[in-house]
């Protein structure tokens, strides 16, 4: 049968506040166990939460960035469950009155079509601690550093119809939260985690099938693979006439399979109720308007500007604006080089090759935007050609200095002196007299094919330094005799 997949996502984005959601402890990643904790984070009796102003501002920023309704009165609720890394016995979250209500965003798919994905809601909540199950004499170790770290849980509508769409959506959320500066987007450190709801239905059927939820997937690649694996598993069951059990599953990237988390199944009764320790949060319209007016440029707006201001293609503009760091880098290179198309090609091409090979982010690049701009200036003013520039970039990447220093030290300056080039070409033609005779005896089509041979010989004779723009007309003239 032909199945249609229906996907909805819950994304937990850790907000980049300095202190926790309800206490004055630091949120720094990688601190020694339990050193970022207070009486509030430990759930000590009588310790009361006080809400972080900055977390509220960040949540409202996100709401405005996805065209959402803002909850002018929002309420914290207790989600009750027992687990040792949740010392209070409940997670402070939001239920009926979230800070961010219905909104939407647009994603661009690989074939260029734009799809609108609905945002159901986004609410503030605190993270739990971490359980370490390594061998502590058969016991479990608890680290509460992450306890009460602020999270924004972003819930989508079940609008996605393929793994690719789901990944495009997560990438767009990632892009928005990092542009806003409200989340560092570091998925490996758990700053963004994703729960995936998946169901299948026969193509054309209106109502949804039974769904499963895959918890805590933390990379774009794993999201895509987890979805493919789960689609296959559900399709196999349905094809055999079986039924999907609504349950929570875990994705195991090593085995590339999803597994049931049976233990939590029977007790999924969280008994939400309004948190008596926290009063309702009331916003004023002026507060919300002020945040809306000061939003930074968002990815979609930046891509648009790159197309009009720098005449980039839609594809190039999309790739470069995907992260704020790459967009900023590109603009700095352009400023230095004066040619946006050239800057775009080098940032997306040669530079990205080096970054990918070493698994580095653009912010960790060995070659700064200013340095790359300095290299491109030398292509623009014909000091070197594109091929030589590639070897200069390699030297720059290896830390041998600026473009000008490397060109000077290695004597790579392009020869543009017409007289010198003409002498060199004559030398090449004399050394290849037989080929020249053959060329002159051939028809025009054949000649076009043969010219490359002579061009190659000239470049070789000049050690790659002859300016092709100067060589071509002279070579043509001399060949015709």
């Amino acid at each position: 049968m032909n199945w249609e997949v229906v996907i909805g996502l819950e994304i937990h984005a850790q907000l980049s506040t300095k202190s926790k959601l309800f206490s004055g402890a630091a949120t720094s990643f990688g601190a020694e166990p339990n050193t970022n904790t207070t009486l509030v984070d430990l759930g000590m009796p009588g310790a009361l939460p006080v809400f972080n102003k900055e977390a509220l501002r960040m949540a409202v920023m996100f709401g405005k960035a996805v065209n959402a309704e803002i909850g002018m009165t929002s309420v914290f609720a207790r989600k009750n469950y027992f687990y040792p890394d949740l010392p209070k016995g409940y997670q402070t979250s939001q239920m009926d009155h979230p800070i961010v209500g219905k909104g939407h965003l647009d994603i661009t798919l690989e074939d260029g079509t734009v799809k609108r994905v609905g945002i159901t809601r986004a609410h503030l909540e605190e993270d739990a601690g971490k359980s370490l199950h390594e061998d502590f004499h058969g016991m479990t170790g608890i680290d509460l550093n992450r306890s009460s770290t602020p999270l924004l849980e972003i819930v989508s509508e079940p609008d996605m119809r393929s793994a690719k769409e789901a990944v495009a959506y997560v990438k767009m959320i990632h892009s928005i939260v990092t542009y806003l500066g409200i989340c560092d987007g570091n998925m490996a450190e758990g700053s963004m985690r994703c729960d995936i709801n998946i169901s299948l239905r026969p193509k054309g059927q209106q109502e949804f099938g039974t769904r499963t939820e895959i918890k805590n997937v933390n990379s774009f690649r794993f999201i895509e693979r987890a979805i493919y694996t789960e689609i296959e598993r559900q399709a196999d069951i349905l094809e055999d006439g079986g039924k999907i059990v609504q349950e929570t599953r875990l994705y195991d990237p090593d085995k590339d399979e999803t597994r049931s988390m049976r233990s939590k199944e029977d007790a999924n009764d969280y008994r939400y109720f309004p948190c008596p320790d926290l009063l309702p949060i009331e916003l004023t319209q002026a507060y919300v308007d002020e945040i809306a007016a000061n939003l930074p440029e968002l990815p979609a707006q930046k891509a648009e500007r790159f197309m009009t201001e720098y005449k980039l293609s839609e594809y190039d503009a999309g790739v470069i604006s995907a992260t704020r760091a790459m967009a900023d880098y590109f603009e700095e290179v352009t400023k230095a080089a004066g040619n946006a198309k050239l800057a775009a090609n080098w940032v997306m091409g040669e530079l990205s090759k080096y970054l990918n090979t070493e698994g580095k982010e653009i912010t960790e690049s060995n070659v700064s935007a200013e340095q790359l701009g300095g290299l491109l200036v030398r292509i623009e003013d014909n000091t070197i050609n594109g091929n030589t520039a590639k070897s200069v970039l390699q030297a720059m990447w290896e830390g041998q200095g600026s473009a000008d220093e490397i060109i000077e030290a290695k004597g790579l300056k392009q020869v543009t002196d017409t007289g010198a080039i003409e002498t060199m070409i004559q030398g090449v033609l004399e050394a290849n007299a037989a080929q020249v005779e053959q060329f002159r005896a051939s028809d025009e089509d054949k000649q076009k094919k043969m010219i490359g041979f002579f061009m190659g010989q000239v470049m070789k004779a000049s050690q790659g330094k002859a300016n092709p723009g100067v060589v071509t007309p002279i070579l043509n003239k001399l060949l015709k005799g």
Binding site: A25, A26, K53
Partner: protein
């Protein structure tokens, strides 16, 4: 509405309370009478009334995003029955 004993045991399990058979029966009766009261209240017309989450006419005060607390791990760990490598130790929680 009357609660079954099974319901009482489930509620007790969710709250991690250990009940013996006698307790369970007693709670079955007292919780049922609470639910009867709720049922009586259901007859009140609440159309157009916003559910009240807090009885106080006050709104939440906010805190500046500043780290105000130092590391007091040793003092906190001193309250725990078992610790190691800066961690609180608890009975193993996975199978």
């Amino acid at each position: 509405m009357s609660l079954e004993k099974q319901d009482v045991l489930k509620i007790a399990h969710l709250a991690r309370l250990a009940l013996d058979d006698n307790d369970a029966e007693q709670y079955q009766h007292s919780l049922t009478s609470v639910l009867d009261l709720v049922e009586q209240m259901q007859s009140v017309d609440t159309n157009g009334v916003e559910p009240l989450s807090h009885p106080l006419e006050a709104k939440q005060r906010l805190r500046d995003d500043v780290v105000t607390e130092d590391n007091r791990r040793e003092a906190f760990l001193a309250n725990a029955p078992q610790t190691e490598a800066g961690l609180f130790l608890v009975p193993k929680v996975i199978d």
